[in-house]
């Protein structure tokens, strides 16, 4: 694990939140905007350490609330809870399987807005929620799963580019079994 990997995850969060505010195609077509942070939290929980995960959750929620009418840092706790749950159980997930990545991303994207809404209602806000919100929730869930696949693809590629893999250049004493994680 190196600092470039942490920086690339944080940069992805920054760009993701910016694109969430600027690209309105999902909202115009499907009626809901997909949140990129749960996907990145899933990636960080499976491929990174606790410090990176915590940093991502703090910075991501601050950046997101700076571009929305949400109270400051409202997504902090939901994102962290989801991240810690995946991090604790990371040994039990077949993280190389695309279906597992999609499912984890979709589950994280489904639970974060629920936790956030619960917090919003608890502290006395009145967000616009009705039956159509169920459709938005479905869009956010499926979109989150797809974004997780994309996040794994881009960040794994960046990780390989940015980190120096000594095993690739060393003399091999054993048959090459492929790159270790």
């Amino acid at each position: 694990m190196n600092c470039f990997h942490t920086a690339s995850i944080l940069l992805a969060a920054l760009i993701g939140v910016f694109l969430e505010a600027v690209v309105t195609l999902p909202r115009d077509l499907l009626g809901a905007q997909v949140n990129p942070l749960p996907a990145l939290v899933v990636y960080a929980a499976l491929h990174s350490n606790m410090a990176t995960l915590t940093l991502l959750v703090i910075c991501g929620s601050l950046w997101q609330s700076s571009l929305s009418a949400d109270p400051l840092g409202i997504a902090l706790l939901p994102l962290f809870l989801v991240g810690v749950f995946i991090e604790i159980n990371r040994g039990q997930f077949a993280r190389r399987e695309r279906f597992v990545r999609f499912t984890l991303g979709a589950a994280a994207s489904a639970s974060v807005p629920l936790f956030t809404l619960f917090l919003l209602l608890t502290i006395g806000h009145e967000p616009i929620v009705n039956w159509f919100s169920l459709w938005q929730w479905v869009v956010v869930t499926v979109g989150g799963g797809v974004l997780t696949l994309l996040a794994f693809f881009v960040l794994d590629w960046l990780k390989n580019v940015l980190s120096h893999n000594t095993k690739k250049h060393a003399y091999l004493m054993t048959p090459d079994m492929g790159d270790p994680e």
Binding site: T54, L72, G73
Partner: protein, 283 residues
């Protein structure tokens, strides 16, 4: 064995530290006073400055390319039309200056408070709020351009909303229909007042909002036009807002509610006008 236990202990400690930091930070952020929270939001928003700058640059380049590809004859025609419109508007304005003077004189005689007059500035819509449960947009004018919280925002068709948060180079606007932007309005045909607010159907169609607090025996009917009443501290009177779609009278109730279709389609907004007022009361 011992090293495994040591690693387990370290992991446990890292969980405890992370949980502690996040719990304290969450409590601190959620309990911050609104002014401090707005400052932290502005600070966090600074990270997006290069991206918004890049976006503005791209828009400028694409605008220049479109401009250069237009034929000269078309531009000259448009210039001619604009000059004629400008002349007509100037003549209208001269006529209204007399009416405004008379209005001011009458207000002085009746000892009424004069209307605050501000100048409007054109702003470009650069983004939309990230949460699905609020309706906000981001514009490229900020504190450095004189924009303040609660300044009204409008477009050619009608009222858009009010400024919710301001940073030096950007502002967030709560759109009409957002629970954070309630507007006092009147129905032009009946002169009855009410309050525009978000309704459950606003989530399905953002152009549909609820009009509450109409009198029980209201004469308001579908297709009536709704304007700002001027009773609000933030919105000047007589800005068109929407048209009544349907009226719901419930037997025995002291008030009537209505459904209003907004004149402005916020999903297609590219540019808006911010009414910059010299002294704006802050909420």
């Amino acid at each position: 064995m011992r090293s495994l236990r040591l690693m387990g202990d370290m992991r446990k400690t890292s969980y405890q530290i992370a949980c502690g930091i996040v719990a304290v930070l969450a409590l601190l952020l959620l309990s911050l006073p609104s002014r401090s929270a707005a400052r932290v939001k502005v600070w966090a928003g600074h990270f997006f400055l290069p991206f918004f700058g890049f976006q503005k640059g791209l828009q400028k380049i694409s605008g220049n390319m479109i401009d250069s590809s237009l034929p000269r004859s078309q531009l000259l025609n448009e210039l001619k039309t604009l000059r004629q419109t400008n002349q007509l508007l100037k003549m209208e304005l001269t006529r209204f200056d007399g009416v405004a003077l008379e209005n001011a004189r009458l207000k002085t005689q009746l000892r009424l408070k004069p209307n605050a007059r501000g100048q409007s500035r054109l702003a470009r819509v650069v983004g939309r709020g990230t949460a699905n449960w609020w309706r906000t947009i981001h514009i490229d004018l900020g504190e450095r351009d004189g924009v303040q919280v609660n300044h009204p925002v409008w477009a050619e068709q009608g009222l858009v909303g009010r400024v919710l948060e301001v940073s030096p180079y950007r502002a967030q606007v709560a759109l009409v229909g957002n629970p954070l932007c309630r507007v006092s309005v009147k129905v032009s045909e009946t002169e009855e007042s009410g309050v525009l607010t978000a309704a459950p159907f606003t989530a399905v169609d953002p152009r549909l909002v609820g009009l509450v607090h109409l009198p029980a025996d209201t004469a308001t009917a579908p297709e009536n036009t709704v304007f700002t009443s001027g009773l609000s501290e933030f919105f000047p009177a007589n800005i068109p807002v929407g048209k009544i779609v349907s009226v719901y009278r419930s037997h025995g109730s002291v008030e009537t509610t209505a459904r209003v279709r907004l004149l402005v389609d916020s999903s297609r907004l590219q540019e808006v006008w911010v009414m910059i007022q010299p002294k704006m009361a802050k909420q």
